[in-house]
């Protein structure tokens, strides 16, 4: 008797809870409609924008830069007006730890919260995993750092960084310029690293450079087999296409195995100050070369003001991709202004047409969602070269 009664009470409670949840969801959805349907007088609307990034894990430094960049943009743009509507921007910050496996869960959370657009994801792997879910929900996503070549074209994906087909070619060209005849390319088996490595290999092979490919597992500590293979191959340069932690370990182990006079190179994933510590000191990685897509910082239209504001807010220099993430929010706001609508479908349509004036300069997106420099910025280089000198990255 007792137990059936308890069960009945529980069932009733559960039903009530479900009803409450449903009604609150419906309420959320309808409030926007009712507000936007009546024109005429001035009103305030709150739009929720999701930040889908990696705040913990190996890429926490990239995630922090992205978060601060976007928050700066929010403080600049909050309360923007379209027609007679004032929009308040609310950010919802979510962490996927840089792991593709966690990414769909985060995407679903953001969709359930009712975001109109998402800035992210941080990594190509996460983007690849989350994009179909956002696509199904019709939510636009703009990434400031997911560079893998085959992420475009998709119906709802845009990026404010330069894709890896361009970056890979730039790295290959750099090798050829430096006169390397044998190059070892190693990836970490992740989406971003393999994509970039494939592009580099393709371009190097086309240029007649001998290439050997190795793979390590992201999260591994020991790369001795790979180092032995690389050493046996005897390359002029070792390119690691993954992220800085594994890059640091690999370069350190290469040096320890006695590889001197070999040029270490990498993509935007290794261009972090943390690589110095991770490689066991500047001596192991000094002279390392890295590329990063985008307009050079000294040629960016709003770089100086952005840097000052960033330092004031975060207490340190802007990390990689802070400015592209900042401009992702600017682009979303511009798209809303253009269509006078904060509906996700309208934002997607208008993102294809906007011409954004951001920190990085004037830009838009081509029909595939790829970054396109426009206006004054159109002629500027889209790949920047960096060299690690005395423990700091110096633009070349």
């Amino acid at each position: 008797m007792q137990s059936t009664r308890i069960r009945r009470i529980l069932a009733v409670l559960l039903a009530v809870a479900m009803l409450a949840a449903m009604s609150s969801l419906v309420g959320c959805g309808s409030s926007d409609d009712s507000e936007s349907s009546d024109g005429g007088e001035a009103k305030t609307e709150t739009i929720k924008i999701g930040i889908h990034t990696s705040l913990t894990g190996g890429l926490a430094d990239y995630g922090f830069a992205a978060q601060k960049g976007i928050e700066l943009a929010q403080s600049e743009l909050d309360g923007f007006e379209v027609g007679n509507t004032t929009y308040k921007i609310e950010l919802s910050l979510k962490d996927d730890k840089g792991e593709p496996a966690e990414s769909p869960v985060v995407a679903q959370q953001l969709i359930d919260e009712g975001v109109v657009a998402v800035i992210g994801c941080l990594t190509s792997g996460s983007t690849n995993a989350a994009q179909p879910i956002y696509e199904q929900a019709g939510i636009p996503m703009i990434s400031g750092s997911a560079t893998r070549a085959d992420l475009v074209p998709r119906t709802n994906f845009f990026r404010t960084c330069v894709g890896d087909n361009i970056q890979g070619k730039a790295l290959a060209d750099w090798c050829v310029e430096l006169g390397f005849m044998k190059v070892a390319i190693m990836d970490d088996r992740g989406d971003y690293a393999v994509g970039l490595a494939d592009v580099i290999e393709e371009n190097l092979t086309a240029a007649g450079v001998e290439v050997s490919r190795e793979s390590g597992q992201e999260g591994d500590t020991d790369f001795s087999a790979q180092v032995a293979n690389i050493q046996n191959f005897g390359p002029d340069a070792v390119i690691f296409t993954g992220y800085h932690r594994e890059a640091g370990l690999l370069f350190k182990q290469c040096r320890e195995a006695g590889m001197t006079g070999v040029q270490f190179m990498g993509g935007d994933g290794i261009k972090s100050d943390e690589i110095v510590e991770e490689a066991g000191g500047a001596a192991n990685v000094d002279g390392t070369l890295a590329t990063i897509g985008g307009i050079p910082q000294d040629k960016m239209a709003g770089w100086d003001a952005f840097k000052t504001a960033f330092v004031a807010d975060a207490g340190k220099d802007p990390g990689p991709y802070a400015e592209t993430n900042h401009d992702a929010l600017v682009a979303i706001v511009d798209a809303i202004k253009m269509g006078e609508s904060a509906d996700p479908a309208d934002i997607i349509e208008n993102l294809k047409k906007v011409e954004v004036m951001g920190v990085i300069g004037t830009f838009g997106f081509d029909e595939n969602g790829e970054f396109k420099a426009m206006g004054d910025s159109a002629g500027l280089a889209t790949i920047v070269r960096y060299k690690l000198e005395g423990g700091a990255w110096v633009a070349q």
Binding site: G58, Q226, A257
Partner: protein, 406 residues
């Protein structure tokens, strides 16, 4: 394929293998005594490394520290790490496993997985999710050049100290009172208890020894690679567990053999061309032929009962092994008249099939001698070898020592 290349692969295989061995011993000892797998052991290893690094940083070792003081600091850090990690191992046993003793075998296993997740998160809480980096000034970075190959002195330290530790462990188990108690507990816990052995204390001691070894492993890995992450222990634990199974879980020499084999396979498998790997099959084939042609027939002859022992019958038993296709097939297909012969026939055919497999692999590898597995396949190859070994020897290379488990 130069000699330097092979030597380099061997050295790194041995170094990695020895680290696996230090961890695998913890798995195998606990299995030997309790017949359950302590999945939290990988995290115990990570925490050992973290504690050692933190202590060193706290002591403030740097480049300027005189070498004598530096060695002293290392010993202090290692001791602190061993003591705290052993305490942790003891606590885990006391809190998570002892209350479940006597329950179904799956229950402590689940508890172990729970402890593993708990410890990973504890590391994140205490030290943060980012990798902890050992300050460069702390790491000893001397090199030696052997056969033209530059090798870190630390690699030799890892190999040497592992060998010494294993010798000490063997001595403890074979020749001390507590070792005797461990062996007795592993054979039959109830009987041991009735004989006046305090099994709870013995089991706690097993955990303490296993955790201390893991702490030393964690310290060595941190020094060798320069960084640790909260989930480093997961992969190492998995590999070490694999190695323990490969060598025969519950078997101490087996754990060492399995670890070295795994370390070497990981390096040779993706570092050598198939032409080089084929030699392993050639050696295997020679061993297999020796077993099939000489060793087993000689043993089988001893099984012949005296009343039927005739030179013709002996020759028949030997021929079943030496020429399995005609003789063994004939015997195996014939109506079952003679138990020894028909058992031998089937045994001979199995051995023969194994040797044919080895021979065809050798031929296959020699035919594709210039092909090399991409390093992408590193973990897959290790796993394939594990499956292969377990297919032929389900109990592992040295077998589960049921009577001498620990």
């Amino acid at each position: 394929m130069t000699f330097e290349h092979i030597f380099r692969l061997t050295m790194s295989g041995l170094t990695v293998g020895m680290v696996y061995a230090l961890i695998a011993l913890g798995y195998t000892m606990v299995y030997g005594v309790l017949e359950f797998i302590n999945f939290a052991h990988g995290e115990v290893f990570t925490i050992g490394g973290y504690i050692a690094i933190t202590t060193l940083v706290w002591l403030g070792v740097d480049d300027g520290t005189p070498i004598g003081t530096k060695v002293g600091y290392f010993i202090i850090a290692l001791s602190v790490s061993i003591v705290l990690t052993a305490l942790l191992g003891w606590l885990i046993e006391r809190i998570a496993y002892r209350p479940l003793r006597g329950a179904s075998r799956i229950i402590p296993l689940l508890s172990a997985i729970g402890v593993s997740i708990f410890l990973q998160n504890a590391i994140i809480l205490v030290w943060g999710p980012e990798a902890i980096v050992v300050p460069t000034s702390i790491i000893p970075d001397q090199f030696v050049t052997v056969f033209g190959v530059q090798i870190r002195l630390l690699a030799f330290v890892i190999i040497g100290s592992s060998v010494v530790l294993m010798a000490i462990l063997t001595y403890i188990i074979k020749s001390t009172r507590i070792g005797k108690a461990m062996r007795a507990t592993s054979q039959d816990m109830e009987a041991a208890e009735m004989m006046g052995i305090e099994t709870n204390k013995t089991i706690a001691f097993t955990f303490i020894v296993g955790s201390s070894l893991a702490a030393i492993g964690g310290f060595l890995v941190a020094m060798y690679y320069g960084s640790l992450k909260f989930d480093t222990g997961f992969l190492y634990g998995l590999k070490a567990f694999t190695a323990a199974v490969l060598g025969g879980i519950g078997n101490i020499p087996g754990a060492v053999v399995g670890s070295l084999l795994l370390g070497l396979v990981e390096n040779y498998g993706v570092g050598l061309k198939l032409g080089g790997l084929a030699w392993f099959f050639v050696v295997g084939l020679m061993l297999g032929l020796y077993v099939q042609m000489i060793r087993v027939p000689a043993r089988r002859k001893k099984h012949i009962r005296d009343e039927v022992r005739t030179p013709e019958y002996e020759a028949q038993v030997v021929n079943v092994y030496r020429f399995p296709i005609p003789y063994a097939l004939q015997t195996a297909l014939a109506p079952r008249t003679d138990a020894l012969l028909s058992v031998s026939a089937r045994h001979a055919l199995r051995l023969f099939a194994g040797n044919v497999f080895l021979a065809s692999m050798a031929v296959l590898f020699f035919l594709n001698r210039d092909f090399q597995f991409a390093t992408m396949w590193q973990h897959a190859i290790s796993f394939a070898v594990l499956v292969l070994v377990l297919m032929f020897r389900p109990a592992g290379i040295l077998g589960e020592h049921i009577e001498e488990k620990v």
